[in-house]
Symmetry: C2
Amino acid sequence: MSDVNPVLAAADAGLEASIARWLDLLKIPSVSTDPAYAGECTRAGQWLTDMLNGLGFDASLRKTAGHPMVVAHYAGANAVSSRHVLFYGHYDVQPADPLEEWKTPPFEPSRQTGPDGMEQVYARGAADDKGQLMTFLEASRAWIDTTGDLPLKVTVLLEGEEESGSPSLEPFLKANKRELVSDVALVCDTNMWDAKTPAITTRLRGLLHDEVTVTGPSIDLHSGYYGGAAANPIRILSDIVSDIHDRNGRITIPGFYDGVKAVPKATREQWGKLKFSERKFLGEIGLKESAGERRFSILEQTWARPTAEVNGIYGGYTGVGTKTVIPSKASAKISFRLVGTQDPDKIRKAFRKFVKDRLPKGCSVAFSEASEGSPAIEISEHSEDLQSAAAALKQEFRKAPVMMGCGGSIPIVRSFKDLLGMDSLLVGFGLANDAIHSPNEKYDVNSFHKGIRSWIRIMDGLAR
Amino acid sequence: MSDVNPVLAAADAGLEASIARWLDLLKIPSVSTDPAYAGECTRAGQWLTDMLNGLGFDASLRKTAGHPMVVAHYAGANAVSSRHVLFYGHYDVQPADPLEEWKTPPFEPSRQTGPDGMEQVYARGAADDKGQLMTFLEASRAWIDTTGDLPLKVTVLLEGEEESGSPSLEPFLKANKRELVSDVALVCDTNMWDAKTPAITTRLRGLLHDEVTVTGPSIDLHSGYYGGAAANPIRILSDIVSDIHDRNGRITIPGFYDGVKAVPKATREQWGKLKFSERKFLGEIGLKESAGERRFSILEQTWARPTAEVNGIYGGYTGVGTKTVIPSKASAKISFRLVGTQDPDKIRKAFRKFVKDRLPKGCSVAFSEASEGSPAIEISEHSEDLQSAAAALKQEFRKAPVMMGCGGSIPIVRSFKDLLGMDSLLVGFGLANDAIHSPNEKYDVNSFHKGIRSWIRIMDGLAR
C-alpha cells in the first residue's frame, strides 16, 4: 500500500503557497528571443536555482553561449528506489506582443474566477512552461516536506531558450551527458485531452524538408513570342505537386508508406470514443471537410498518418498587376511529416526521383542542400514506465489517460533519444484554450493543482 | 504598265542621302520612358515634322498629355487614285541601358560592314522604329522627287510613346478620328522572315489576364498540428493549374477552343516549307522539346494556337530556409493568348467556372478585377490590299512574302480597328537578330534599301 496520501494532503494544504511561488516566477519577463530581456532570463533561472537549493536539491545555474541552464540533482539517499528520472521544463517565455490585446499586463499575473467558477491565472508563461514546470517542482516539495525525501533519484534540467530554437541545448546535452543520463525523461510541456481527461503524448511526427527549383527555359521569356512552345516551369511544378496526392488524399511517391503502421486497435477505439467534433475542429480554421486521406479520422490524419505539404511556392512575376512572362524557374518548399519508422533519407531520395521522373526532356531541377530529417517518435504504450504513469493519472482523474499524438515535433524528445539514449514520458496539464504564444495566455488553477497531485502519484509509481 | 521604275531608280540614286537623314534622326536620344529625355523626344518629333513639311506634306507637331504626335497629310492632288492610307510609326526609342554593353555609343550611329560584306547601322532605334519608319518616308520622297506627287493620299502618324505604353494614343485617335480615318493603316514595325524573304504579319494573338487567389484555411496554420486534415491552398491551386492542360498540351477548359480555326492549308504548307529549325529555336532558349499542343508545329503553336500560361505563382513562405506553415492563401497570375474569334469575356467566364468547379467544399476563390481582354486580330489573306502588297513584295524580292503570325500583340492594330474602324497592313523589314530593346541594336542597310523600294511598289499597287 502506497503512502502517497499524506503527500497529496500536503500538496492540497500547501496549494495557496504553491500558487504564490508560481505567480512570483511569472512576474519575471524571461523572454528569450529578445536580447533586451537577457538579464530577466538569468534572473528566472537564478530564482529557480535558489528555490531548488531551498528544497534540498544540489542546484546550479550553468552558463551557455546563450541563456543559462538550471541543473539540479536530488540524490534521494533514503529513496525506496534506485530509479533515476530527468525532469525537463523551460523557464523562458514567448514575447508578449501584441501588448494591446492583453486584458491584464502579461507580467503582472492576474488570478480570476470564470463564469463557471473555475479559476485561471493569466500571464505570459502561465502555462507554457512556467505553470507546467512548477507542477513538478511543487510535487517534489510536497514529497520532501512530508517524507524528508523524494521516492526516487531526480535530476532537473530547465532550459532558457526553448522559445528561441534551443541553440545551446544540444551542445549542453553532449557536454554534460554523464551528469544528465537517467532512466527516463519526464517532459511537462503538453496538454490534457480536456479538463477532466488526462493524456500522455505517445506519438510525435518526424519532419523532412526539401526545396525544389524547376528550370524550364534558360531565361525569362515573352509569353507572346514563346507561349505555346516553351516549357513553363510553373506548369511543370504544378503538375508535380498535383501528382503527389491521389484523389483519396494518399501520397503517391513510391515507397512513401514503408514503415507506416496501423494504429493499434485499442488506441483507435479509444480515439473513436473521444468527444472530438471534426466539424468544430475544421470550423475553427474556416474549413468544411478534411483534405486528408479518406478512411481515416482527423485524429488519425494528424496524429498517426504521414503528410506532404507545400509550405511555399513561388515563380515568375508576383508583384502587382500583370507581366507577360514565361519564367525560367519556379520553386516549392515541401515538408513531410513522418510516422512509424519512415526513414527520412529514403523518403528524400524517393521524392527526388519522383520529381525527376516528371521532368520534361530538357528541363532540370535543383534541390536545397539536404538538411537532416528527423524520424517520428513513438513511445510504446506497453512500456512499464508509461503504464505506471497511466495508472497514476487514472487514479488521480478516475479516468484513463488518452494516448495522444502530436502532429508537430518536440525537438527535446528527439535530442534526449539521440544524444542521451533516453526515452521520454510526455505528461502535461495544459488545455487547448490556454492561448500559449498568444495574448491572454492562461493556466487553470485546476490544471496546476491536478498537475502537482499527478506528479506525486507518478513519482510514486515510477519509484516502485 | 506601271511607271514605278524611275521612282525606284531615284531611290537607288538617293540611297546615301537617305541613309544620312536616317543617321541624323538616330542621333536624337528620344527615349520616351525617361523624363530626362522629354526635350529630345520633342526634338525628334520636330525633326520629322520639318522633314515632312520639306517634302510637301502638311505636317504639324501636336501636343498631347505626354510626348507630341507628328501628323502629316499629303493630299495627292494629281494622284491617279482616290485611295487614302495612314502610315504609322514611332519616333521614340527604348532606353539604351546597359550602356557598358554597347560596342559603339547608342546615339552615335555607327555604319559597319560585316564579315559577309553586308552593311549595318548600329544605334538605339536603328531598326525600332526609326529605321523602319524612314523606309516609308524615303519612299515617299522618291515618289515626290520623281513625279512631283504621291500616287495616293497619305496621312502619316508618328507616335512618341510606343516604348512607354502609348498612354496618349487612344485619346488622340478618338479626338482626331475624322482627320485620321483612311482606307487602310500601314504599320511598319515588324520583321521579314529572313534577309531574302519578305513577310506580311497577318495574325496577332489576343490576350486575356486573370489572377486567382485560392483561400483554404481562414488563417495560416502550423503544418504539424493541422497537416493531414487542413486543405492546403497551394495544393488546390496546383491541382487547378495542372488540370488546365491535358497530356497532349491541349487546354481542357470547356468551350476554350470555340472560335479557333485551322490554319488554311496553303498557309500551313507555306509555313512547312520555311527554313525553320525547331531544334534551334528551342536550343536558343535552353529547351529540347516543345511543351505545346501535339500535332502542331512550333510556328503554329506560337502564331495560330491559343495558350494558357501561368505568369506567376505565389503562396506560403517564400523566404530563405523553411517554415512549417499551411498558408491560408495561394495565388496565380494566368494569361491566355487568343486566336481566331475566341471571345475574351466568354473565356474569362469559362475559366472562372473551371476554377470554381475544382474547389473543395469550404474553400473559396477570388479573382482580380476583370480587366478587358483583347481578341486576336487576323487579317484576311484574301483582302485586296494584302494581295496587292504581297504582289509588290514578291516583285521586289522575287519571292512571295511569308504570311507570318506574331505570338504577341501589337496594340496599335487593335486601336486602329476599334477606334478608327480600320484594318492594318503589317509590313516591316526588321530581322530577328536586330537586337531591338537590347544593346547593339542594328538595322541592315539592305533592310533599309529594300524597305524603301518595297514601299514604292506597295504605294503603287495600293493606288490602283
